[in-house]
Every structure is written in C-alpha cells, then in structure tokens.
Amino acid sequence: MATDNINKSHDNEEYEIDTLTNDRLIKDHNYDGIKELDNDLPPWWKWLFYLTIVFSIVYMIRLFVFQADDLIQEREYQLVIDKSAKENPNTKSTGTFEIVLLTDKSDIEAGKETWIKICAACHLVDGGGIVGPNMTDNYWIHGNSVEDLYKIVTNGVIEKGMIPYNTQLSEEARLQVVSYILTELVGSTPATPKAPEGNEY
C-alpha cells in the first residue's frame, strides 16, 4: 500500500523511543503533549480490510454480471413462492371435508383459542359484539346452521367488514371455531351485549 511510505521522510532522522513499548515515536508529532508512534498497520487488520473489499467486488459481479437469483429481489421472491406451491400444492384445502358440529372437548378448546386470538377483535372475547354482531343471542343475519356459519367464516361478508378467513385458518380451525360459537357462546351472558341484529331463530 502506498501509505506504507508515508513517513519515509523520517527515515533518516533520529527517533525517540517509547520506553514502555519500545516502539518508535514520530519526531515533531506533539499536540498538547500527545505524541504518536510510528507503528505500521496491524497485518490482520489490513487483511480484514482486503477481505471485505474482495467480498464487495464478488458481490457486485454476482449482481451485475451473473444476475444472481438471491440478489434480485423479484426473482428471489418468486422462487420461494414457486417452491412452496410445489411442495404443498393443496395447502389450503383438503378437498373432502365434512361440515358437522364438533363436540370433542379438544375441538371446542381449540375453537375457543382461535376465537380469542382472531374473532374477539370484532366480536369481543365474551361474544357480546362491538364491531361485529352479538354471537350469544338468538338473532342471526345470515342463518345459524353449522354450514351457514362455516360459510361466513370461510368467505366473509366483506361489505360488512367481515373478511374471509380461508387464507388464515385451516378448514379444521374454521369448523372448530364455529362449533365453539354454537356450543359455548350462544346462550351465554356477555358483559355488554350488542343489540340484536337479523332475524330470530
């Protein structure tokens, strides 16, 4: 490196020696009593620097010359999407799925968990309703059968703000939460029930 010669002019001058380290002090470098040693750059430091420069050159060549997939965002994303689609082509539908009320305790518990995590944001934890309707009374806007509720959870009622959950919840999870509503919430007494909406069943 060219800078190795920076102090060449000092070579033929007399050096003072730092007694604690035996390193050479640079003559005439004295700033408010602060002196400077004439040590070279630590070799490992220099190599670290060279290494990062080589890394950078390789990185840029991979981008601009080889257009590496992992450096071109759009392509990297598409590869991941294609891969996940190929590995699990039917991830979100099992094809044959029977929609009947679940009664197993474990299913109802799982349904309750989904209710609290997802549904409560609009229907409240106790089902009393706030943004979405009250789920504890006997009034229903879109019917009260397992199939009716399952359809709403799956496809949503977007004009009323209910989004479809087919992209977030598995068929099983959707049926579990519907079962939880019908077996546990309906008929319970929420703290602040929303006024009835829809028709009485």
């Binding site: 604690l20 040590n39 990062t52 950078s56 840029m60």
Partner: protein, 706 residues
C-alpha cells in the same frame, strides 16, 4: 524561538458539560418512560402529549443532539484550542452557539409532544427550527475554522480531522435531507417523495450516526484517551488510513436501512457492500484507541475514566461489527422491523457515546475545578451499574427481536401462518420488555450517581475560568514533507478533500434515483390522495403512527401472506414524506385498506380501536388516542396543502384546491354515515375520520385495478 503567551477560556467547555449532564438525564428518563409505556400502554393516562408515539422523538433527539451533541461540543471547545495553541476565535460566536443549541433543544421538546414533526427520523424538527439549526451550525463552523486558521501549531492533529469531517458532512446532510416546501409556519412537505425520500432520509439517518455519533466521538477519543492515560497514539499511519476510509465509505451505507424494500437492487447492493467494507475502518479507530493504552493497563484497572473509555471503545467495536452483519440481506430479513435494531443502537449509545461522555467528564471536571474527583468509588460503582444496565437492556431485546422475527415467518404444515394474529408475537416477547425496562432503570441509577459525583467534585473545587499557555508562532512547513503531512498543514485544503470524499457516495446513489426512470416504474392505477385522506395522512404523521407501524411489505412469503402484495416503488410516488417506518411494534399498514386481505378492518373497528385499543384487543400494547375524536382538522389550510403538493409534482388538477373542501366534506359525510349505522356518532371535521379515510385508502390503488 520566542514563546507567545495566550489564555484559554474554559467557560463554554464548562457550560457544555453541564448541558450534557442535564440533557443526558432528561433523555434517559424519557427513554425509560417509553420503555414503561411499551409495557403499560396507557401509562400516559390519555394525555396526548405524553403518548409513546409523540415523545419517542423527544428521547431520540435528546440522546443524539442534546446529550451526545453537547458532549462533543464540550470536547471540541476544550481540546481544539489546546491542540492548536490558540484560544477559540470568538467568545460571542461561542455564546451564540451554546445558547442557540440549547434553544433548539428546548424548541424540539416543546414541539414534538404536540404533534409538530416532519416525521423523518432524527430530522423531525419543523422547518423554522431547521433554519435555526443551520444558522447555529454555521456559527459553530465559523468559530471552529477561524480558530484553526489562527493556530500556532502548523499541523492539525487527527482529532481535528474528525471535527472537520463532522462539520462539513452534517452541514451537507442536514440541508439536503430537510429541503421542503413550507405550507404553514409549522408544516412543510419534503421535496422528495416515496422511495426517493426514503433514500435521502436514510442517507441522512445513517450518516447522522456516522458523523454525529461517531466521527466527533472519535475526535474526542483521540484527545482524551492519550491525555488520560498519558500514552502516545498507537499508530499515526492507522489514523490516516482509517480516517479517510471511514469518511469515504460511510456515506454509501445508507441503503442498508432499506433492504428488501422497494429500493432498486443495485442501490441495496451498494448499501450492503459499503457496510461490509466499513468493518476495518471502524475497527481501525477501536484499535488505535485501545492500543494507545498499551503500557497503561495497570492504570485502567484503577482509573474509572479509563475504564469508561475502554468499555466505550469496545462497545464501538461491537456495534460496528454488528452493523455490517445486520446489513447482510439474510440477517436483515430477520432483524429489520424488530427490537434487534433497538438493541443494536443502544450498544452504540449506552456503550460508546455515553461511556465516552462519562469518561471525558470524570476527567475534565476535576481539571476545570482544580480538584480531585469527589469519589472514585462512586465512579466505579457507576461504571459497573452502567455496564450491567447496558447488558440488561440489550440482551433481552436481541432475544425479543429474534423470537418475533421467527414467529412472523413460521408457517404450519398446511401452509397457513402459524401466528396469523400479529398481537400473539407481541405478547410472546413482552417479558423481554420488562427486562429492558429494568436495564434502563439501572442505567438511569448509574447516571444519577454520575451527576451527584461530578456535582460534588465541582462544589469542592473552584472553577478555573482562564488558563495561560505559551507556544512559539507557527513554523513554516518543512521541505520534503509527505503528501498527507503537507495536507495536515493546510486545513482548508484538507476540508475540501474531506468534502469531496463524503460527496461521492451520496451523489452516486441519489442522482440515478432521479434521472433513471426504470428505478421507479410508473403504476397508472396509483392516484393522489383525496383531500380528506391527505388530512388524515397529516394526522398519522403528527401522532407518530409510523413509529410503530411500517408501510413497507417486503417480498417474503410470510409478509405477502399476512399483509398482501409486496410494496412497489411506483406506489409511493405521491408520498411527501415517505412513511415506510423502521419498526413494527404493531402490524404493517401498507395495505390496511384492501378489503380482501387478512389485515382489513372496517371503519367502526378503527374508530373503536383508536379510542380504546384494549376494548377490541385486550392484550394490545397500543395506547389510546381518544383526542382524535375531539380534535378537528383545519379546513382553512386544506387548499394550501393541495397547492403545495401540486407544486411538488402531485397531479392535482388546476383549480382542484377550490373544490377540495367540498370534496373533503362529501367523503367525510359518507364515512360518518357508515359509522352512524354502526351506532357511532361523530361530529364535524374530526381528525379520527380523516385518519380512517387515510387508512382505508392505503395500498388499495393497485388492488382495485386487478
């Protein structure tokens, strides 16, 4: 040679020290408040000016500009005259600098909590205060450069190189990033939009770290470590190489704040490689600091000043290794938007910046008051408490960031997000927030011990305002000096070289973003905001929503699954300023308005959620914003906002400003009607309706076109 006599005035050094001490405590206390607000979201008691999102800039600005800023000003006003053997040029300029800077800090503290902000991180000051900052910076620069010209020492020392680089670069960064079109006395829109604005902001933001939190502190290190240890600098050659490499390379690294964003691949790549190349130049500073202590390690064991310096410089080395690692795309894909970043920056501030300030002040106050440190024992206690506080702060947040990132990315075997509800990933890491607050508390306790100690030190001594010194007149340059040595004798030429070095990176990155159209492919479906949405956007900015919610969906399977199609550069072209955010304490909102997406919530939900988040999400850590339903938008300014946006290139039709208010009222009535049907009564011109209108617009343009 005849010695000339002159006198140093310690007054301003002393002033800056006490300002550092006082603002430091304020900044830390606000930080601790924020840490507690993240655990107890309604700690602010529905007082608007105490809410997290409004006082977060008070914390960052107090830490950066008040605590670190005043600290290195103290260092400069003390070390520069002694290194140059001449008093500071002007007491008047010095006084203006000191009082002007404190005024800026007070104005910042009086504006942010009340929603006056530009929203660009660490550049939130509204435009009239920006003008004041520039004036004060010029005053400081004049005082500094004339002092340099008046010097008796021919060659400028490495500390001065760093002070010069600080001054020129901050001047360039601050002005360019804050170019904006004023609309009212308190409101302006940046001339840049969307991804271009983001690039300029993070070119600034990253280099504020480099040239406000790093270079001046390296200057400080180069004076106070050899002074306190009474040892020579390890290597002059290393000083030269790491100085120039550092300032040249640093300026390029800004795009690493925008990895996997809509920034073009080439710009992201520059951000990656220049960050990686920064490891060695940064470590050059660390090595030169630590190896200067060779032969003095026995002193380090006893002297709290040197202990502080050693931990400070070591933290610098850690942070500057971690930074480049976080700039690698694979690591960044995990760390970005999480608490990992918060942990990283606090190693820098609590470790490097604060410890250097503490060390300097423990050394300087006994000198200025001609006495000994009141209690070395207390200082040692402070040292250990602060070190532990830093670790208790950062380690839990590393864990939190890592955990949350993995939860965001996890899919079930069936191909669903394992944690579709964002809130689940927050409650999971909440225990780490408790630990962070504990670490922060320790750090504040340490700072109180520090203040008590330096206060008692000052009280037991008497202030030495004037110190006499003598030196020979400046000698002419010797023949056969090396190139760099000659440059050290020509400070103005040195300054020009430094300016050129720091301009190159910025120019290469920013100019193509404007001139090359392919960098921001146009999307025809993207239209300007309606007047109501624009007003809502200003509410979003004033409340600081962007501090916890990003608007940048990255091209990852888990993000497109959770939030929808990833964000394109062309979608951001009317965003003056950009609002990508840098942290997701809550979910991304880039497509909050798209009805078919999992994130969508109806108007009445937004209303209820804003008034009382815990009503709809009991475990939410979002604070309540009930005042949004009371505060009104100022319709008299709406037409001016439309005009200003048009001046900046947003294609509102000529004359649209005249019907803007009617348009706004019509859209308002529509939303109010919908809310009414859900049983929510809302009065005229309320901010909350404008904000809902804005949220429901977000990300919809490209979806409606499908």
């Amino acid at each position: 040679m005849e010695l000339q006599k002159f006198t140093y005035d310690n007054k301003l050094t002393n002033y800056f020290i006490w300002a550092t001490v006082g603002w430091g405590l304020v900044g830390m206390l606000v930080g601790l408040t924020l840490a507690l607000e993240l655990i107890f979201p309604n700690l602010s008691g529905e007082i608007s000016w105490l809410v997290f999102s409004r006082i977060r800039p008070v914390h960052t600005n107090a830490a950066i500009f008040a605590f670190v800023g005043n600290g290195f000003f103290a260092a400069i006003y003390y070390s520069m005259p002694r290194l140059l053997k001449t008093p500071m040029y002007s007491k008047a300029l010095g006084n203006i600098h000191f009082w002007g800077w404190q005024l800026i800090i007070v104005l910042a503290a009086l504006t942010y909590p009340f929603g006056f902000t530009q929203s660009k991180e660490y550049a939130e000051l509204i435009w009239p205060i920006d003008v004041l900052v520039v004036v004060i910076w010029v005053v400081f620069g004049l005082n500094m450069f004339i002092t340099i010209i008046n010097r008796r020492v021919k060659h400028i020392y490495v500390a001065i190189w760093f002070y010069i680089a600080t001054w020129v670069t901050i001047a360039v960064l601050y002005i360019v990033n804050n170019l904006a079109l004023p609309v009212t006395l308190t409101l302006s829109y940046p001339i840049y939009a969307g991804i271009q604005d983001a690039l300029v902001q993070w070119w600034y933001g990253h280099n504020a770290v480099a040239f406000f939190l790093t270079t001046p502190i390296l200057g400080m290190m180069y004076y106070f470590i050899p002074k306190a240890a009474n040892r020579p600098i390890y290597s002059y050659k290393l000083s030269i190489i790491h100085f120039w490499a550092l300032i040249f390379l640093y300026i390029w690294a800004g795009p690493h704040h925008l990895l996997y964003s809509a920034l073009p691949d080439w710009a992201q790549a520059l951000g990656v490689v220049f960050s990686v190349m920064l490891i060695a130049p940064s470590w050059g500073g660390m090595i030169n600091g630590l190896l200067t202590l060779r032969g003095a390690w026995d002193k380090v064991r006893e002297d709290p000043v040197l202990k502080m310096f050693v931990v400070g410089v070591t933290a610098y080395g850690m942070a500057t290794f971690e930074g480049p690692m976080l700039s690698l795309k694979t690591v960044n894909a995990l760390s970005h938007f999480t608490d990992w970043t918060i942990a990283h920056v606090h190693i820098g501030t609590l470790g490097w910046n604060s410890m250097m300030n503490f060390g300097m002040i423990y050394w300087l106050v006994p000198k200025l008051f001609k006495t000994k440190l009141y209690s070395a024992k207390l200082a040692n206690a402070h040292f250990w408490i602060a070190t532990l506080g830093m670790l208790f702060f950062s380690i839990p947040l590393y864990f939190a960031g890592f955990t949350q990132a993995l939860m965001w990315k996890e899919f079930t075997a069936e191909g669903f997000l394992a944690y579709p509800n964002f809130l689940e990933t927050v409650t999971q890491i909440l225990p780490m927030y408790y630990l962070r607050a504990f670490g922060g508390t320790l750090y504040v306790i340490g700072a109180v011990l520090f203040i008590y100690n330096v206060w008692k030190t000052a009280a037991q001594g008497s202030f030495v305002r004037y110190e006499n010194d003598e030196a020979a007149a400046k000698a002419p340059a010797k023949p056969k000096e090396s190139f760099h040595r000659r440059l050290e004798g020509r400070p103005l030429q040195f300054t020009v070289f430094a300016l050129v070095a720091i301009l190159i990176g910025g120019l290469v990155e920013i100019i193509p973003m404007y001139l090359v159209k392919s960098n921001i492919p146009t999307i025809a479906a993207v239209k300007p905001y309606t007047p109501l949405e624009l007003e809502g956007r200003d509410v979003y900015i004033a409340e600081g929503c962007y501090l916890c919610h990003s608007q940048m969906i990255r091209p990852f399977r888990n993000e497109t699954e959770r939030y929808g199609e990833y964000t394109k550069a062309g979608e951001t072209v009317y965003d003056h300023p950009f609002l990508f955010g840098s942290k997701r304490t809550g979910p991304d909102l880039a497509r909050a308005g798209v009805k078919s997406l999992p994130n969508y919530k109806p108007d009445s939900w937004h209303f209820n959620h804003m008034i009382n988040p815990q009503k709809v999400s009991p475990e939410s850590i979002m604070p309540a914003y009930p005042w949004l339903a009371d505060n009104e938008i100022d319709l008299s300014v709406t037409p001016d906002k439309i005009k200003a946006m048009r001046t900046l290139g947003v294609p509102y039709a000529e004359g649209f400003e005249d019907i803007a208010v009617d348009d706004l009222k019509a859209q308002y009535a529509e939303i109010a009607k919908g809310l009414r049907s859900s049983g929510i009564e809302v009065g005229d011109n309320k901010e909350i309706v404008a904000l809902i209108a804005y949220l429901q617009r977000l990300g919809t343009d490209v979806y409606n076109n499908k």
